[in-house]
Protein backbone atom coordinates (compact mmCIF):
# COMPACT_ATOMS: atom_id res chain seq x y z
CA UNK A 1 0.00 0.00 0.00
CA UNK A 2 2.76 2.42 1.05
CA UNK A 3 4.65 1.54 -2.15
CA UNK A 4 1.63 2.37 -4.26
CA UNK A 5 1.13 5.71 -2.50
CA UNK A 6 4.81 6.52 -3.02
CA UNK A 7 4.55 5.66 -6.70
CA UNK A 8 1.46 7.82 -7.19
CA UNK A 9 3.11 10.64 -5.26
CA UNK A 10 6.27 10.39 -7.36
CA UNK A 11 4.17 10.43 -10.52
CA UNK A 12 2.19 13.49 -9.41
CA UNK A 13 5.32 15.42 -8.33
CA UNK A 14 7.14 14.62 -11.57
CA UNK A 15 4.10 15.47 -13.70
CA UNK A 16 3.68 18.80 -11.87
CA UNK A 17 7.37 19.48 -12.40
CA UNK A 18 7.08 18.81 -16.13
CA UNK A 19 3.95 20.95 -16.53
CA UNK A 20 5.33 23.71 -14.26
CA UNK A 21 8.61 23.90 -16.17
CA UNK A 22 6.92 24.26 -19.54
CA UNK A 23 4.19 26.59 -18.27
CA UNK A 24 6.75 29.12 -17.01
CA UNK A 25 8.74 29.11 -20.27
CA UNK A 26 6.83 31.89 -22.05
CA UNK A 27 7.71 34.39 -19.28
CA UNK A 28 11.35 33.37 -19.34
CA UNK A 29 11.55 33.22 -23.10
CA UNK A 30 13.98 35.30 -25.09
CA UNK A 31 13.07 38.95 -25.24
CA UNK A 32 14.25 39.10 -28.84
CA UNK A 33 11.27 38.99 -31.18
CA UNK A 34 13.43 37.69 -34.04
CA UNK A 35 12.65 34.40 -35.73
CA UNK A 36 15.44 32.10 -36.88
CA UNK A 37 15.45 32.37 -40.68
CA UNK A 38 18.31 30.66 -42.54
CA UNK A 39 19.14 31.73 -46.07
CA UNK A 40 17.10 30.40 -48.98
CA UNK A 41 20.33 29.08 -50.50
CA UNK A 42 20.83 26.86 -47.45
CA UNK A 43 17.49 25.14 -47.99
CA UNK A 44 17.93 24.96 -51.76
CA UNK A 45 21.28 23.23 -51.25
CA UNK A 46 20.34 20.91 -48.41
CA UNK A 47 16.73 19.98 -49.02
CA UNK A 48 15.78 20.69 -52.62
CA UNK A 49 12.96 18.15 -52.57
CA UNK A 50 11.34 19.76 -49.57
CA UNK A 51 11.80 23.41 -50.50
CA UNK A 52 8.08 24.10 -51.03
CA UNK A 53 7.23 22.37 -47.75
CA UNK A 54 9.77 24.57 -45.96
CA UNK A 55 8.29 27.62 -47.71
CA UNK A 56 4.83 26.57 -46.49
CA UNK A 57 6.07 26.05 -42.93
CA UNK A 58 7.59 29.53 -42.95
CA UNK A 59 4.39 30.91 -44.47
CA UNK A 60 2.41 29.61 -41.49
CA UNK A 61 5.04 31.08 -39.18
CA UNK A 62 4.80 34.43 -41.01
CA UNK A 63 1.02 34.59 -40.56
CA UNK A 64 1.44 33.76 -36.87
CA UNK A 65 4.26 36.27 -36.47
CA UNK A 66 2.23 39.04 -38.05
CA UNK A 67 -0.76 38.18 -35.87
CA UNK A 68 1.38 38.21 -32.71
CA UNK A 69 2.89 41.62 -33.42
CA UNK A 70 0.21 43.58 -35.26
CA UNK A 71 -1.86 44.11 -32.11
CA UNK A 72 1.18 44.37 -29.87
CA UNK A 73 4.56 46.05 -30.30
CA UNK A 74 4.22 46.39 -34.10
CA UNK A 75 7.85 45.39 -34.47
CA UNK A 76 8.18 43.30 -37.62
CA UNK A 77 11.93 42.74 -37.72
CA UNK A 78 11.69 39.15 -38.96
CA UNK A 79 8.94 39.76 -41.49
CA UNK A 80 11.12 40.64 -44.47
CA UNK A 81 13.63 37.77 -43.93
CA UNK A 82 10.74 35.30 -43.73
CA UNK A 83 8.97 36.66 -46.81
CA UNK A 84 12.26 36.75 -48.68
CA UNK A 85 12.88 33.10 -47.80
CA UNK A 86 9.36 31.97 -48.77
CA UNK A 87 9.35 33.76 -52.10
CA UNK A 88 12.80 32.49 -53.02
CA UNK A 89 11.94 28.89 -52.16
CA UNK A 90 8.53 29.01 -53.82
CA UNK A 91 8.45 31.92 -56.30
CA UNK A 92 5.04 31.03 -57.74
CA UNK A 93 3.34 31.05 -54.33
CA UNK A 94 1.38 34.28 -54.89
CA UNK A 95 -0.26 34.82 -51.51
CA UNK A 96 2.94 35.78 -49.62
CA UNK A 97 3.64 38.60 -52.08
CA UNK A 98 0.18 40.08 -51.65
CA UNK A 99 -0.11 39.58 -47.91
CA UNK A 100 3.56 40.36 -47.31
CA UNK A 101 3.49 43.72 -49.11
CA UNK A 102 0.67 45.00 -46.90
CA UNK A 103 2.19 43.48 -43.76
CA UNK A 104 5.46 45.27 -44.53
CA UNK A 105 3.43 48.45 -44.94
CA UNK A 106 2.22 47.97 -41.37
CA UNK A 107 5.85 47.85 -40.35
CA UNK A 108 6.52 51.13 -42.15
CA UNK A 109 8.43 49.50 -45.01
CA UNK A 110 6.48 50.41 -48.13
CA UNK A 111 9.76 50.27 -50.08
CA UNK A 112 10.26 46.59 -49.23
CA UNK A 113 6.59 45.89 -49.93
CA UNK A 114 7.03 47.41 -53.40
CA UNK A 115 10.18 45.35 -54.00
CA UNK A 116 8.37 42.20 -52.92
CA UNK A 117 5.51 42.90 -55.31
CA UNK A 118 7.93 43.56 -58.16
CA UNK A 119 9.60 40.22 -57.46
CA UNK A 120 6.16 38.60 -57.36
CA UNK A 121 5.26 40.13 -60.73
CA UNK A 122 8.53 38.93 -62.27
CA UNK A 123 7.79 35.35 -61.14
CA UNK A 124 4.04 35.50 -61.86
CA UNK A 125 3.48 37.81 -64.84
CA UNK A 126 -0.08 36.55 -65.32
CA UNK A 127 -1.29 37.70 -61.88
CA UNK A 128 -3.23 40.94 -62.36
CA UNK A 129 -3.70 41.48 -58.62
CA UNK A 130 0.05 41.90 -58.09
CA UNK A 131 0.10 44.60 -60.76
CA UNK A 132 -2.79 46.50 -59.18
CA UNK A 133 -1.01 46.34 -55.82
CA UNK A 134 2.11 47.71 -57.50
CA UNK A 135 -0.01 50.52 -58.93
CA UNK A 136 -1.51 51.23 -55.53
CA UNK A 137 1.92 51.27 -53.83
CA UNK A 138 3.34 53.58 -56.51
CA UNK A 139 0.44 55.99 -56.23
CA UNK A 140 0.17 56.01 -52.46
CA UNK A 141 3.78 55.72 -51.35
CA UNK A 142 5.87 56.65 -54.39
CA UNK A 143 8.19 59.63 -54.08
CA UNK A 144 8.69 60.31 -57.79
CA UNK A 145 6.95 63.38 -59.28
CA UNK A 146 5.63 61.01 -61.99
CA UNK A 147 4.13 58.62 -59.47
CA UNK A 148 0.60 58.98 -60.92
CA UNK A 149 1.81 57.98 -64.36
CA UNK A 150 3.95 55.15 -62.97
CA UNK A 151 0.93 53.87 -61.02
CA UNK A 152 -1.23 54.19 -64.12
CA UNK A 153 1.24 52.09 -66.10
CA UNK A 154 1.00 49.25 -63.55
CA UNK A 155 -2.80 49.39 -63.75
CA UNK A 156 -2.63 49.50 -67.54
CA UNK A 157 -0.50 46.35 -67.58
CA UNK A 158 -2.96 44.70 -65.22
CA UNK A 159 -5.93 45.67 -67.40
CA UNK A 160 -4.32 43.91 -70.38
CA UNK A 161 -4.41 40.54 -68.61
CA UNK A 162 -7.35 38.38 -69.66
CA UNK A 163 -8.92 37.82 -66.24
CA UNK A 164 -8.51 41.36 -64.90
CA UNK A 165 -11.77 42.99 -63.78
CA UNK A 166 -13.08 46.06 -65.63
CA UNK A 167 -12.41 48.56 -62.87
CA UNK A 168 -8.65 48.11 -63.37
CA UNK A 169 -8.74 49.82 -66.76
CA UNK A 170 -10.86 52.67 -65.35
CA UNK A 171 -8.37 53.24 -62.51
CA UNK A 172 -5.52 53.34 -65.03
CA UNK A 173 -7.36 55.94 -67.11
CA UNK A 174 -8.18 58.14 -64.11
CA UNK A 175 -4.56 58.03 -62.95
CA UNK A 176 -3.37 59.06 -66.41
CA UNK A 177 -5.72 62.05 -66.25
CA UNK A 178 -4.37 62.90 -62.82
CA UNK A 179 -0.81 62.60 -64.08
CA UNK A 180 -1.53 65.08 -66.87
CA UNK A 181 -1.22 62.52 -69.66
CA UNK A 182 -4.26 63.71 -71.60
CA UNK A 183 -3.61 61.77 -74.79
CA UNK A 184 -2.74 58.50 -73.05
CA UNK A 185 -5.76 58.94 -70.78
CA UNK A 186 -8.04 59.38 -73.79
CA UNK A 187 -6.68 56.19 -75.35
CA UNK A 188 -7.08 54.27 -72.10
CA UNK A 189 -10.70 55.45 -71.75
CA UNK A 190 -11.32 54.42 -75.35
CA UNK A 191 -9.97 50.97 -74.50
CA UNK A 192 -12.26 50.84 -71.49
CA UNK A 193 -15.15 51.71 -73.79
CA UNK A 194 -14.13 48.99 -76.22
CA UNK A 195 -14.00 46.13 -73.75
CA UNK A 196 -16.19 47.35 -70.89
CA UNK A 197 -19.78 46.80 -69.81
CA UNK A 198 -22.57 49.41 -70.04
CA UNK A 199 -21.42 51.19 -66.86
CA UNK A 200 -17.83 51.42 -68.11
CA UNK A 201 -19.00 52.78 -71.46
CA UNK A 202 -21.04 55.55 -69.88
CA UNK A 203 -18.08 56.47 -67.67
CA UNK A 204 -15.66 56.34 -70.59
CA UNK A 205 -17.78 58.58 -72.81
CA UNK A 206 -18.19 61.16 -70.06
CA UNK A 207 -14.44 61.23 -69.37
CA UNK A 208 -13.38 61.30 -73.03
CA UNK A 209 -15.83 64.10 -73.63
CA UNK A 210 -14.04 66.15 -70.98
CA UNK A 211 -10.60 65.33 -72.39
CA UNK A 212 -11.26 66.03 -76.08
CA UNK A 213 -10.55 69.48 -77.51
CA UNK A 214 -13.48 71.85 -77.96
CA UNK A 215 -12.55 72.76 -81.53
CA UNK A 216 -14.81 70.58 -83.76
CA UNK A 217 -12.13 69.76 -86.36
CA UNK A 218 -9.50 68.82 -83.79
CA UNK A 219 -12.11 66.89 -81.88
CA UNK A 220 -13.12 64.94 -84.99
CA UNK A 221 -9.49 64.12 -85.79
CA UNK A 222 -8.89 62.83 -82.30
CA UNK A 223 -12.02 60.70 -82.23
CA UNK A 224 -10.98 59.17 -85.55
CA UNK A 225 -7.56 58.31 -84.08
CA UNK A 226 -9.28 56.29 -81.34
CA UNK A 227 -10.71 53.82 -83.88
CA UNK A 228 -7.96 51.30 -83.14
CA UNK A 229 -9.10 51.01 -79.51
CA UNK A 230 -12.83 50.61 -80.14
CA UNK A 231 -14.15 47.62 -82.10
CA UNK A 232 -15.73 48.45 -85.47
CA UNK A 233 -19.29 47.54 -84.49
CA UNK A 234 -19.14 49.98 -81.54
CA UNK A 235 -17.21 52.77 -83.20
CA UNK A 236 -20.18 54.42 -84.97
CA UNK A 237 -22.11 54.70 -81.74
CA UNK A 238 -18.92 55.89 -79.98
CA UNK A 239 -18.18 58.68 -82.45
CA UNK A 240 -21.87 59.76 -82.62
CA UNK A 241 -21.95 60.09 -78.84
CA UNK A 242 -18.82 62.26 -78.82
CA UNK A 243 -19.30 64.29 -82.00
CA UNK A 244 -23.07 64.47 -82.08
CA UNK A 245 -25.21 64.15 -85.23
CA UNK A 246 -26.51 60.99 -86.95
Amino acid sequence: MLRRVLLVLTFVVCALGVVGYQATRPEKGSSSPRVFVPSAQFFTDFSPSFRTTIADAYWLRTVQYYGEHVNGDRQFDSLWPMLDLITRLSPRFVRPYRFGAFALLDGGRADLGYELLKRGHAANPDEWALLTHLGMFSYQYGSSPDKDVIAAEWYQKASELPDAPEWVGRVAARLLVKGGERQKATMQWAQVYGVGDQYSRVQALAEIDKLLPVDPAARQREVASLAEFVPGELFDEFSRALLGGD
Binding site: T53, V63, R92, F99
Partner: protein, 254 residues
Protein backbone atom coordinates in the same frame (compact mmCIF):
# COMPACT_ATOMS: atom_id res chain seq x y z
CA UNK B 1 10.76 -16.74 -61.43
CA UNK B 2 7.83 -18.87 -60.26
CA UNK B 3 9.69 -19.56 -57.03
CA UNK B 4 10.45 -15.90 -56.54
CA UNK B 5 6.75 -15.09 -56.95
CA UNK B 6 5.85 -17.76 -54.38
CA UNK B 7 8.29 -16.17 -51.92
CA UNK B 8 6.96 -12.71 -52.84
CA UNK B 9 3.38 -13.76 -52.15
CA UNK B 10 4.35 -15.25 -48.83
CA UNK B 11 6.36 -12.15 -47.87
CA UNK B 12 3.44 -9.92 -48.85
CA UNK B 13 1.03 -11.90 -46.66
CA UNK B 14 3.50 -11.80 -43.81
CA UNK B 15 4.35 -8.07 -43.97
CA UNK B 16 0.83 -6.79 -44.62
CA UNK B 17 -0.29 -8.41 -41.35
CA UNK B 18 2.47 -6.71 -39.37
CA UNK B 19 0.97 -4.62 -36.55
CA UNK B 20 3.83 -2.14 -36.56
CA UNK B 21 2.95 -1.37 -40.17
CA UNK B 22 -0.67 -0.66 -39.22
CA UNK B 23 0.44 1.65 -36.42
CA UNK B 24 2.72 3.60 -38.77
CA UNK B 25 -0.02 3.88 -41.41
CA UNK B 26 -2.58 5.10 -38.86
CA UNK B 27 -0.04 7.64 -37.60
CA UNK B 28 0.63 8.80 -41.18
CA UNK B 29 -3.08 9.23 -41.86
CA UNK B 30 -3.39 11.18 -38.61
CA UNK B 31 -0.57 13.44 -39.79
CA UNK B 32 -2.37 14.05 -43.08
CA UNK B 33 -5.54 14.93 -41.19
CA UNK B 34 -3.45 17.21 -38.93
CA UNK B 35 -2.49 19.19 -42.04
CA UNK B 36 -6.17 20.25 -42.10
CA UNK B 37 -5.54 22.14 -38.89
CA UNK B 38 -2.42 23.78 -40.32
CA UNK B 39 -4.40 24.74 -43.38
CA UNK B 40 -6.87 26.75 -41.27
CA UNK B 41 -4.18 29.28 -40.36
CA UNK B 42 -2.79 29.59 -43.87
CA UNK B 43 -4.96 32.46 -45.16
CA UNK B 44 -7.00 30.61 -47.81
CA UNK B 45 -4.12 28.38 -48.90
CA UNK B 46 -5.82 25.22 -47.64
CA UNK B 47 -5.34 23.05 -50.73
CA UNK B 48 -1.69 23.97 -51.12
CA UNK B 49 -0.87 23.32 -47.45
CA UNK B 50 -2.73 20.01 -47.41
CA UNK B 51 -1.05 18.75 -50.59
CA UNK B 52 2.43 19.88 -49.65
CA UNK B 53 2.47 18.72 -46.02
CA UNK B 54 0.50 15.61 -46.98
CA UNK B 55 3.02 14.55 -49.63
CA UNK B 56 5.88 15.17 -47.22
CA UNK B 57 4.11 12.89 -44.71
CA UNK B 58 3.64 10.25 -47.43
CA UNK B 59 7.37 10.44 -48.26
CA UNK B 60 8.60 10.24 -44.68
CA UNK B 61 6.21 7.53 -43.49
CA UNK B 62 6.66 5.55 -46.69
CA UNK B 63 10.39 5.71 -46.06
CA UNK B 64 10.01 4.58 -42.44
CA UNK B 65 7.85 1.61 -43.46
CA UNK B 66 10.24 0.67 -46.27
CA UNK B 67 13.53 0.85 -44.38
CA UNK B 68 12.35 -0.84 -41.21
CA UNK B 69 10.57 -3.63 -43.05
CA UNK B 70 13.48 -4.08 -45.47
CA UNK B 71 16.03 -4.11 -42.65
CA UNK B 72 14.18 -7.03 -41.08
CA UNK B 73 13.40 -8.82 -44.30
CA UNK B 74 16.45 -11.06 -44.57
CA UNK B 75 17.58 -10.78 -40.95
CA UNK B 76 14.36 -12.29 -39.61
CA UNK B 77 14.72 -15.31 -41.89
CA UNK B 78 18.28 -15.79 -40.71
CA UNK B 79 17.50 -15.35 -37.01
CA UNK B 80 14.46 -17.60 -37.11
CA UNK B 81 16.49 -19.99 -39.22
CA UNK B 82 13.60 -20.34 -41.67
CA UNK B 83 16.12 -19.60 -44.39
CA UNK B 84 17.50 -23.13 -43.99
CA UNK B 85 14.06 -24.51 -44.70
CA UNK B 86 13.76 -22.35 -47.82
CA UNK B 87 17.20 -23.32 -49.11
CA UNK B 88 16.46 -26.99 -48.62
CA UNK B 89 14.16 -26.52 -51.62
CA UNK B 90 15.42 -25.68 -55.12
CA UNK B 91 15.60 -21.94 -54.44
CA UNK B 92 18.73 -19.87 -55.17
CA UNK B 93 19.90 -16.84 -53.16
CA UNK B 94 18.98 -14.46 -55.98
CA UNK B 95 15.47 -15.91 -56.24
CA UNK B 96 15.14 -15.59 -52.48
CA UNK B 97 16.27 -11.95 -52.40
CA UNK B 98 14.15 -10.95 -55.40
CA UNK B 99 11.11 -12.78 -54.01
CA UNK B 100 11.41 -11.14 -50.60
CA UNK B 101 11.95 -7.74 -52.23
CA UNK B 102 8.94 -8.05 -54.56
CA UNK B 103 6.66 -9.10 -51.70
CA UNK B 104 7.69 -6.13 -49.62
CA UNK B 105 7.53 -3.80 -52.64
CA UNK B 106 3.89 -4.82 -53.07
CA UNK B 107 3.15 -4.13 -49.41
CA UNK B 108 4.84 -0.73 -49.55
CA UNK B 109 2.98 0.00 -52.80
CA UNK B 110 -0.35 -0.56 -51.05
CA UNK B 111 0.73 1.51 -48.06
CA UNK B 112 2.04 4.48 -50.09
CA UNK B 113 -0.82 4.37 -52.58
CA UNK B 114 -3.31 4.14 -49.70
CA UNK B 115 -1.81 7.24 -48.11
CA UNK B 116 -1.79 9.04 -51.48
CA UNK B 117 -5.44 8.17 -52.14
CA UNK B 118 -6.38 9.29 -48.66
CA UNK B 119 -4.60 12.59 -49.22
CA UNK B 120 -6.29 12.99 -52.61
CA UNK B 121 -9.74 12.37 -51.08
CA UNK B 122 -9.17 14.65 -48.09
CA UNK B 123 -7.92 17.47 -50.36
CA UNK B 124 -10.87 16.95 -52.66
CA UNK B 125 -13.51 16.85 -49.94
CA UNK B 126 -12.13 19.60 -47.72
CA UNK B 127 -10.54 22.03 -50.16
CA UNK B 128 -12.47 21.06 -53.31
CA UNK B 129 -9.23 20.43 -55.19
CA UNK B 130 -9.30 17.11 -57.06
CA UNK B 131 -5.79 17.29 -58.47
CA UNK B 132 -4.56 14.08 -60.08
CA UNK B 133 -1.02 15.40 -59.68
CA UNK B 134 -1.18 14.29 -56.05
CA UNK B 135 -1.50 10.67 -57.20
CA UNK B 136 1.25 11.10 -59.76
CA UNK B 137 3.56 12.57 -57.12
CA UNK B 138 2.67 9.63 -54.85
CA UNK B 139 3.79 7.18 -57.53
CA UNK B 140 7.10 9.02 -57.95
CA UNK B 141 7.56 8.97 -54.17
CA UNK B 142 6.92 5.22 -54.25
CA UNK B 143 9.70 4.68 -56.78
CA UNK B 144 12.14 6.62 -54.59
CA UNK B 145 11.10 4.66 -51.52
CA UNK B 146 11.47 1.32 -53.34
CA UNK B 147 15.01 2.24 -54.39
CA UNK B 148 15.90 2.92 -50.76
CA UNK B 149 14.26 -0.38 -49.87
CA UNK B 150 16.53 -2.22 -52.32
CA UNK B 151 19.59 -0.51 -50.82
CA UNK B 152 18.42 -1.44 -47.31
CA UNK B 153 17.96 -5.07 -48.40
CA UNK B 154 21.54 -4.97 -49.65
CA UNK B 155 22.77 -3.68 -46.27
CA UNK B 156 20.70 -6.27 -44.43
CA UNK B 157 22.63 -9.08 -46.11
CA UNK B 158 25.68 -8.25 -43.99
CA UNK B 159 24.56 -5.84 -41.23
CA UNK B 160 22.06 -5.99 -38.38
CA UNK B 161 18.44 -4.99 -38.97
CA UNK B 162 18.72 -1.70 -37.08
CA UNK B 163 22.02 -0.75 -38.70
CA UNK B 164 20.61 -1.58 -42.16
CA UNK B 165 17.57 0.61 -41.53
CA UNK B 166 19.70 3.49 -40.27
CA UNK B 167 21.99 3.16 -43.29
CA UNK B 168 18.90 3.12 -45.52
CA UNK B 169 17.75 6.44 -44.02
CA UNK B 170 21.27 7.85 -44.46
CA UNK B 171 21.26 6.87 -48.14
CA UNK B 172 17.89 8.59 -48.55
CA UNK B 173 19.30 11.79 -47.06
CA UNK B 174 22.48 11.49 -49.15
CA UNK B 175 20.30 10.91 -52.22
CA UNK B 176 18.58 14.23 -51.57
CA UNK B 177 21.98 15.93 -51.49
CA UNK B 178 23.38 14.27 -54.58
CA UNK B 179 23.98 17.60 -56.35
CA UNK B 180 26.07 18.81 -53.37
CA UNK B 181 28.42 15.88 -53.83
CA UNK B 182 28.68 16.85 -57.48
CA UNK B 183 29.74 20.33 -56.37
CA UNK B 184 32.46 18.71 -54.26
CA UNK B 185 33.83 17.00 -57.35
CA UNK B 186 34.29 20.44 -58.88
CA UNK B 187 35.51 22.24 -55.79
CA UNK B 188 37.91 19.58 -54.45
CA UNK B 189 41.53 20.65 -54.61
CA UNK B 190 43.25 17.29 -54.50
CA UNK B 191 42.77 14.75 -57.28
CA UNK B 192 42.14 12.05 -54.68
CA UNK B 193 39.31 14.05 -53.10
CA UNK B 194 37.84 14.74 -56.52
CA UNK B 195 37.99 11.05 -57.39
CA UNK B 196 36.43 10.08 -54.06
CA UNK B 197 33.65 12.62 -54.54
CA UNK B 198 32.98 11.13 -57.98
CA UNK B 199 32.73 7.63 -56.51
CA UNK B 200 30.29 8.85 -53.85
CA UNK B 201 28.31 10.80 -56.44
CA UNK B 202 27.95 7.73 -58.64
CA UNK B 203 27.30 5.36 -55.73
CA UNK B 204 24.44 7.20 -54.02
CA UNK B 205 21.06 7.27 -55.75
CA UNK B 206 20.16 10.66 -57.19
CA UNK B 207 16.74 11.15 -55.62
CA UNK B 208 16.52 14.89 -56.15
CA UNK B 209 16.94 15.05 -59.93
CA UNK B 210 13.16 15.14 -60.41
CA UNK B 211 10.65 16.26 -57.83
CA UNK B 212 6.93 16.22 -58.42
CA UNK B 213 5.99 18.04 -55.21
CA UNK B 214 6.64 21.59 -56.48
CA UNK B 215 4.53 20.95 -59.59
CA UNK B 216 1.66 19.78 -57.35
CA UNK B 217 1.64 23.19 -55.65
CA UNK B 218 1.96 25.14 -58.89
CA UNK B 219 5.74 25.59 -59.03
CA UNK B 220 6.43 24.64 -62.64
CA UNK B 221 5.40 21.45 -64.35
CA UNK B 222 6.76 17.93 -64.70
CA UNK B 223 9.17 17.47 -67.61
CA UNK B 224 8.13 14.07 -68.89
CA UNK B 225 11.30 13.31 -70.84
CA UNK B 226 13.50 14.06 -67.86
CA UNK B 227 11.20 12.15 -65.52
CA UNK B 228 11.16 9.03 -67.73
CA UNK B 229 14.95 9.04 -67.91
CA UNK B 230 15.18 9.45 -64.15
CA UNK B 231 12.73 6.59 -63.57
CA UNK B 232 14.80 4.37 -65.85
CA UNK B 233 17.91 5.31 -63.87
CA UNK B 234 16.23 4.51 -60.55
CA UNK B 235 15.00 1.11 -61.80
CA UNK B 236 18.51 0.30 -63.02
CA UNK B 237 19.91 1.38 -59.63
CA UNK B 238 17.41 -0.86 -57.87
CA UNK B 239 18.42 -3.87 -60.02
CA UNK B 240 22.10 -3.22 -59.28
CA UNK B 241 21.39 -3.04 -55.53
CA UNK B 242 19.40 -6.30 -55.61
CA UNK B 243 22.06 -8.09 -57.65
CA UNK B 244 24.71 -6.91 -55.20
CA UNK B 245 22.55 -8.13 -52.31
CA UNK B 246 22.18 -11.55 -54.01
CA UNK B 247 25.93 -11.73 -54.57
CA UNK B 248 26.71 -10.99 -50.91
CA UNK B 249 24.00 -13.37 -49.78
CA UNK B 250 25.35 -16.16 -52.00
CA UNK B 251 28.74 -15.88 -50.30
CA UNK B 252 27.21 -16.43 -46.89
CA UNK B 253 27.67 -19.84 -45.34
CA UNK B 254 24.54 -21.43 -43.94
Amino acid sequence: MKRSFAIALNTFKETIRDRVLSVIVVFALAMIVASLWLATISLEQQARMMKDFGLTAVTLFGLVVAVFAAGNLVRKELEKRTVFFIFSKPVGPAQFIVGKFLGLALTVFLVVLGMGLFLFLVTWLVAGDASGSVLLATLLIYVQVVVIMAVTVFFSTFASAILSSVLGVCVFIAGQLSHNVLSLTRLGEGEALKALSWVVFIAIPNLAAVDAKPSVVGEGSIAWGQTSLWLGYLIAYMIVALLAASWVFRRKEF
